[in-house]
């Protein structure tokens, strides 16, 4: 029988949650790398045994781990992330120039077809790639070197490149998103980039046509329809129907359009999920009710999903990389909270149950669908 493997990164280690296709009974493995912050763990689409993990500590900085057996054993690989050439400066919070400094890897995106090729989105915002399974890393400098790069400013959480999406239908096309610079697209395998932020309206940016400076929290794409992109911005849920050339708002009847994650149903490209959060100052669900909102119309019309989720006294957050979907016949949806719960829905969000309740704060959730 097919199964799923949920890869959870937390403030104090990684956890691997496994179940068969019914997704009722779970085995929990971990903590792996106990005590370290695990920003992200993701498996290779080309080889489900191959996993990459971003491991970080304030004492000792960045470490990258690789597994070839689905997370049972791990090998420490390369952790040297050196910006290409003379890094230069970006803008600091006070508007002064600040040297580009590598801090950590936020997101690891394995290639769609080569287990040894993987991309890393880092803070300060840059894009790196490895072609040897993570042993050696090289920057793709065209992104950070874009004409606007020197004007990028960090968001409250740091200037992180947190989203990397590879277009399965158009080799060479990829998307990246940076807080707080915006969304970017490459059509030449990451060699050159341009901002794709037309239509975004951001409080605090007086120019409605500002090319960069937007606090994009997350992008999502359905692989069967790669020109349609969804975005959870700092405020506003947005949609593009032309691969980012233009965006329009689809927040519709959401109780608040602030939030972090956004994801797409595995089999229904118009079915999307967000977790509304009260505001930028109050990073918890409105009214203390943890509600996932689902749109079956590609946005604008949203319904709350509450069955099995706490509907009182709930003040957790769901971070940008902490939601994922599996591709079983009945699409499973998963998310983790800063309170340490990982919730699963085996029926596309209709009902939810916690897999685990008491992990450290969850930073990321990914899922692998296994044969």
């Amino acid at each position: 029988m097919s199964g799923v493997r949920v890869l959870v990164g937390t403030r104090k280690g990684a956890f691997v949650l496994s179940a068969d296709g019914r997704r009722e009974r779970w085995e929990v493995s971990g903590p792996h790398f106990a005590g370290w912050e695990i920003y992200h763990v993701k498996g290779s689409p080309a080889d489900p045994g191959r996993l990459y993990a971003s491991q970080y500590s304030g004492w000792s900085g960045q470490v990258i781990q690789r597994s070839d057996d689905g997370g049972q054993t791990w090998e420490t690989v390369g952790n040297q992330f050196s910006y290409d050439g003379t890094p230069g400066t970006h803008q600091w919070y006070d508007g002064t120039p600040h040297p580009w400094e590598f801090e950590r890897v936020w997101h690891l995106e394995p290639s769609l077809d080569d287990p040894d090729t993987v991309y890393a989105g880092v803070e300060d915002a840059g894009l790196f790639t490895s072609a040897d399974g993570g042993q050696h890393w090289e920057e793709l400098p065209g992104l950070r070197g874009h004409d606007t790069g020197a004007s990028w400013q960090p968001g409250a959480g740091g200037m992180c490149l947190h989203t990397i999406i590879l277009d399965p239908g158009r080799p060479g096309r990829m998307f990246a998103a940076i807080s707080a610079a915006g969304a970017f697209r490459s059509d030449d395998s990451g060699q050159s980039w341009r901002p794709v932020n037309r239509g975004l309206q951001s409080e605090g940016i007086p120019d409605p046509d500002a090319e960069v400076g937007h606090c994009v929290h997350r992008l999502a794409m359905h692989p069967s329809r790669p020109d349609v992109l969804y975005m959870q911005k700092h405020w506003d849920v947005m949609r593009s129907d032309d691969a980012g050339e233009s965006w329009h708002e689809v927040s519709g009847n959401l109780p608040t359009d602030f939030g972090f994650p956004i994801d797409v149903h595995a089999h229904e490209p118009d079915t999307i999920y967000v977790v509304p959060i009260t505001s930028d100052a109050q990073h918890f669900p409105p009214e203390g009710k943890l509600r996932v909102y689902r749109s079956r119309t590609g946005g604008d019309e949203w319904e709350p999903l509450t069955s099995g989720l706490p509907q009182q006294h709930c003040y957790v957050n769901v971070l940008r990389d902490a939601m994922a979907v599996d591709s079983l016949d009945s699409c499973g949806v998963y998310f983790g909270t800063t309170g340490g719960q990982v919730y699963a829905s085996p029926d596309a969000g209709d009902t939810w149950a916690p897999i685990v309740r008491d992990l450290p704060a969850v930073l990321s959730v990914e899922v692998q669908t296994l044969p």
């Binding site: 304030g58 004492w59 000792s60 470490v63």
Partner: protein, 98 residues
């Protein structure tokens, strides 16, 4: 033989238990001790100091013989009790983090 004590999170990363013992030919300095440590345990590269003999990471400290050596010249000789193996060279995770 030089004895090196690692903080627990680096012992786990290096898969080392207890103190690490290193043989160093030539001058015994903080720099050559770290060179030998990183050669024995490549997974520690970049976690104590920057790659390529880079600067000490901000929240890592070096002690020996009840002295804080963190700000001393990394190329200065280490105290005799360290070079003789009587005392360990301590790599310490500063009281920071969470």
């Amino acid at each position: 033989m030089i004895r090196v004590a690692l903080p627990s999170h680096l012992r786990a990363l290096a898969r080392a238990s207890g103190e690490v013992e290193l043989d160093i030919s030539g001058p015994v300095t903080q720099c050559t001790v770290l060179d030998a440590l990183e050669a024995r345990y490549p997974t520690l590269r970049g976690t104590i100091r920057g790659h390529g003999r880079g600067p000490r990471r901000a929240f890592i400290r070096f002690y020996a013989c009840e002295q804080d050596l963190s700000h001393q010249d990394p190329h200065s000789p280490l105290p005799e009790p360290v070079t003789s193996g009587a005392e360990p060279y301590l790599i310490v995770a500063a009281m920071a983090g969470g």
